[in-house]
């Protein structure tokens, strides 16, 4: 009885605590690739500690929505982290939501962040919110299309079943999954405000999307938002790992395989982070009006993945 709860706690805590480390690793890789001196892999933790120790400043006309949005955002990400099979399948929370509901949880967090950005009434806030929603409404269908291909293979939209089916399948070249994987990387870059769509380290007003939205936040609120976006990146990587390279994820209640699963996860995340840093280094930021084209391409690849799966693999 107590065991599932313990393993659920272990996984959620792991995802929450490791997320800033993952961000630090990506930033470090990026700095190395760009011939800069790296800030150190623990830098996101230091930033979080600094922010938590400061006093929060709120605008006079801020409503309770503005104050509560960061907590809601963080809560959504913790929930998502407990649903996605990061190290273990069949956790108690995993049955609460399938892949489609997971996309809905991300949407919920985003809607509240956009509302909070418009709440203060500054120009930057509403500009950032609009741009964020533009990117989001294009990225969401693409993400769903990407998740439908593995769902078709495993005959279920539950992430659990997907991981179990895909991990036990014989290794075969699957054009459908390859298409879906490329589309997933494109969606991941767009949804997490990474480089072709948004530059996470910019503070240039005309180009920023995510930064413009959270410009009014300070101290603990900002810390929660930063932490939540690190977690979002980590969860997206975990979804990608779960769907496209699920080998090594432990089955439910199988305690001896848990350390192996954790090590496998860390190794995969190290590679994923280095790959992301490489992608961000070799590509330039797109104009905002090219973003629909980029995400349209992701949607197209997702649909093509599904269609080629129907044509080539369903025999």
């Amino acid at each position: 009885m107590i065991e599932p709860v313990l393993s659920q706690l272990f996984q959620t805590l792991l995802a929450v605590l490791v997320a800033p480390l993952m961000l630090g690793w990506i930033n470090n890789c990026r700095a190395w690739l760009q011939n800069k001196s790296a800030p150190g892999i623990l830098q996101p933790y230091r930033t979080l500690r600094k922010l938590f120790h400061k006093d929060a400043v709120l605008a006079h006309n801020a409503s309770s929505l503005f104050r509560n949005a960061p907590y809601l955002n963080f809560g959504c990400m913790v929930l998502a982290a407990s649903i996605v099979p990061v190290v273990e399948t069949n956790l108690p929370f995993a049955h609460a939501a399938d892949a489609i509901a997971l996309v809905g949880i991300f949407a919920l967090a985003r809607v509240f962040m956009a509302l909070a950005a418009m709440d203060i009434g500054t120009a930057f806030g509403s500009l950032g919110a609009r741009r964020e929603m533009l990117v989001a409404f294009l990225a969401e269908p693409a993400l769903l299309m990407v998740l439908f291909t593995p769902a078709l293979i495993s005959q279920s939209t539950s992430l659990n079943t997907m991981v179990e089916t895909l991990a036990q399948r014989e290794v075969a070249l699957s054009p459908g999954l390859a298409y879906a994987a490329v589309a997933f990387v494109m969606v991941l870059l767009a949804e997490n405000a990474r480089i072709p769509i948004d530059n996470p380290s910019t503070h240039l007003e005309l180009t920023m999307i995510h930064e413009a939205m959270i410009l009014e936040y300070s101290a603990r609120h900002l810390a929660l938002i930063e932490w939540a976006s690190a977690m979002k990146l980590m969860i997206y990587c975990a979804i990608g790992i779960a769907v496209f390279m699920p080998w090594g994820i432990a089955a439910a209640g199988n305690w001896p395989t848990l350390p192996i699963a954790t090590i496998a996860l860390v190794v995969k995340l190290i590679f994923a982070g280095a790959g992301l840093a490489l992608l961000e280094t070799v590509s330039a930021k797109l104009r905002i009006f090219r973003a629909p084209e980029f995400l349209g391409m992701a949607f197209l690849l997702g649909v093509l993945g599904m269609l080629t799966h129907f044509l080539l693999e369903r025999s």
Partner: protein
């Protein structure tokens, strides 16, 4: 349960071909379009070699060799030379914007797959399931010819349509008879030469390669 390895590789090549067809449809620069055309030829060459190796049809090795010489080296080189001589490195104009073209492309792919499904159920070849992709890439090249204003992208669309037909022939009947294949190869080569001459004539008459100008040739 799993398909044999060469069938999996053929499926992968087919998927790559579809991807290249969409990349050509969305490409804005003429030089990149020519490189993509060369890549399409390379994938076709690889696919033909794999089919030949997997099924033991030795005559396919010869047609793979023709593909390599003609579609990967000679034609792209000719087109490249033409583009530099005509000094057209600028952006390609499309009739409607690219995302909508992509959506039309998806509709065409669904149509092609539906069309191919009943045919491939009757076929006996190991490559039968790729017929849908062959039809789709023919239709997508056709769409590209319709959507472009300038002459050079239209010719590239025409040549890539021929690539799609060649792929269809390989996937349904393990290639055409050698005589037919040689004839088509010669036709395509001569056709490209003639198109090249046409480009210069069109530009001399109108100072541009916009096909729309040809409508003015009507005499009352």
């Amino acid at each position: 349960m799993n398909l044999p390895i060469h069938a999996q590789l053929i499926n992968l090549m087919a998927a790559l071909l579809l991807l290249i067809a969409f990349a050509m449809l969305s490409q804005r620069r003429i030089m990149s379009l020519i490189y993509l055309f060369a890549w399409q030829g390379a994938v076709l060459f690889a696919n033909t070699v794999i089919v030949a190796w997997g099924t033991g049809q030795t005559h396919l090795f010869y047609s793979a060799l023709i593909t390599l010489v003609l579609k990967v080296v000679l034609l792209p080189w000719l087109l490249h030379r033409l583009a530099t001589r005509l000094q057209i490195q600028s952006d390609v104009e499309t009739m409607i914007n690219i995302p909508i073209t992509m959506l039309i492309g998806i509709v065409l792919v669904i149509f092609a797959f539906n069309l191919a499904l009943p045919i491939s159920q009757w076929a006996q070849t190991i490559t039968r399931s790729t017929l849908g992709i062959a039809i789709a890439s023919v239709l997508l090249s056709f769409l590209m010819m319709i959507m472009r204003r300038k002459a050079v992208p239209q010719v590239i669309g025409f040549l890539s349509m021929e690539n799609g037909l060649f792929f269809a022939a390989t996937s349904t009947t393990y290639g055409m008879p050698m005589v037919v294949e040689l004839g088509i190869a010669l036709d395509v080569l001569v056709g490209t030469f003639i198109f090249g001459i046409f480009f210069f004539r069109i530009r001399e008459t109108f100072d541009s390669l916009d096909i729309g100008n040809l409508e003015k040739l009507k005499q009352d």
